[in-house]
Symmetry: C2
Amino acid sequence: MKNITKKSADHFVRACRKKGLKATNQRREIMRELLKTKEHPDAETIFRKVRKRLPAISLDTVYRTLRVFEDNGDVFRVATFNDRARYDANTSSHHHFVCSYCGRIVDCHCPVLDRFQAPRELARLGRIDRVHIEFRGLCSHCQTREAARQ
Amino acid sequence: MKNITKKSADHFVRACRKKGLKATNQRREIMRELLKTKEHPDAETIFRKVRKRLPAISLDTVYRTLRVFEDNGDVFRVATFNDRARYDANTSSHHHFVCSYCGRIVDCHCPVLDRFQAPRELARLGRIDRVHIEFRGLCSHCQTREAARQ
DNA sequence: CTAAGTGCAAATTTTTTGCTTCTGC
DNA sequence: GCAGAAGCAAAAAATTTGCACTTAG
């Protein structure tokens, strides 16, 4: 389990300063939550978790903070499932597998994908800042369950 | 401009029958709208357009119909922009460029992308049904405008 | 004829905003 | 001390639902 050490807390403060953002407890806890999970949670989920540590936090602070993080490129809004936006604090280039049954989102790290580059001819569409590949299907978990149901 | 001929209308009826769906006027018009535009409209936009031909149609019929089409694989829900789901009736494998400034979504057709396949090692995550690559950036239109503003 | 689909209005869910109070710097 | 952030409650926006009526097959 990843421990948020004093060191990484300091890092958070420094990162905020650099961007002219105030390093509040709420922001720190929201980021901590996003960093420690691989679940790509939505605002509501983050709110419930963070509230355990910061009982006074409000849901709209979570929404606002996610937006701030998103605007600053600290967080990405990944696939929407059931109309809820879900977030990922992993800013290194990576891709996602989304289970169309349960909505689970799994990070895909693999050298083949790392090497993937936008074809040159797409440059005519505009400036490409980010490439994100989304694989949709049935996750192994749901596959097993589907097989069992037959 | 693509004309929805009597022939393609018949095709719609047959396609519905095959899936056990009723071929209603509303459904036909919604599909027609989706087929004739390249704009990846949201429910509200489709509603406004279709209403010109079917003044009695309701917004929730549009929502319901999009859902039915989505469940049947006739339509894909592509990138969400400003929290609105946007739809695409182009069911052939293709990808999207999304302008992060204006939200414009442009289809990407290119042989390099057609050849793209999910790396084998991803099979452990589950069954992959669909691969969708999303390029994010600033479209040429907004790029020009940004340059002009400087 | 009847199951599926529609319209309408109301409900729900998700996200944003206005305003006051608080706090990091 | 002050600008930026948080909390709260209310609003707005997006989507869904219950129910009575209509229609395709």
